[in-house]
């Protein structure tokens, strides 16, 4: 192949790297820019959604139970909370994955922590989602 898109590490490397692998360019983890891209998409979504949460809490702080409950039962507020949880959990799970991969070199420990990361993120996320849905679908 004469169309070398980027410099290769060594002659051997060039010889065993097929054009298909070059085109796919997915790297050693076989996921290409997927992780990076999702981290950015969720980060962008987090901006308005977390600002909404900050505003909501600032408004509700100190309110009585009936007010807080009635507020969270409004469909738009419930939906925004659900979106926040979806985006936030996804974002923080991937973020923590990066942190673990950066600092934990030992394979076994790394895999264990990556699992714990998923357990924690999905547990926290599902708890929030369950609570919001329970409130939203409860009798007024």
């Amino acid at each position: 192949m004469s169309t070398n898109l980027r410099p290769t590490a060594s002659p051997t490397h060039a010889a065993i790297r097929t054009p298909l692998a070059k085109v796919r360019g997915l790297g050693s983890a076989k996921e290409g820019t997927d992780h990076f891209w999702k981290q950015r998409v969720t980060a962008l979504a987090n901006v308005p959604l977390t600002l909404f949460l900050v505003g909501l809490i600032a408004r509700l702080a100190g309110s009585d139970y009936a007010t807080v409950r009635a507020t969270l039962q409004q469909p738009l507020i419930a939906i925004l909370l659900l979106l926040l949880v979806l985006s936030g959990i996804h974002h923080m799970r991937m973020g923590m994955q990066t942190i673990i991969e950066d600092y934990v070199p030992r394979e076994g420990r790394k895999l264990g922590l990556l699992m714990l990361n998923s357990f924690f993120a999905y547990s926290a996320g599902l708890t929030c989602i369950f609570a919001v849905l329970k409130l939203a679908f409860a009798a007024q």
């Binding site: 900050v54 702080a61 139970y65 409950r69 923080m92 923590m96």
Partner: protein
Amino acid sequence: MADANVRHERPLSPHIGIYRRQINMVMSILHRITGAALYFGTVLLAAWLIAIAQGPKAFDTVNTLFAHPLGLLVMFGYTWALMHHMFGGFRHFIWDTGRGFDLGTVRLLGWLSILGSMAATVAIWGVALRMRGMI
């Protein structure tokens, strides 16, 4: 050709421990620390929501915890972490477009997000306390 005794003349990457502290490295690690703090802080959001779904008694318990001076401190810290991480995210968005990599811009953005996050945190709490006439 190769002389095994010239080891000491090879350039070494300076260890982080001997670097003078600079805004860009502080910002870099702060983005990570605030991200991790927010990560564990989601427990607070989950506790609040589940308490509301549970009923008035659980709600009162959680409210008492949040209203305790320590609880308020944690919430204040959480607000700042969120704001700082968000401003840090904005910097990443700028860099993702391939812009803003020169040292001057990096330093400027670093200081802007430090000051911006502090100002935003104070503003949020100011407005929240103001709304209930506490300040």
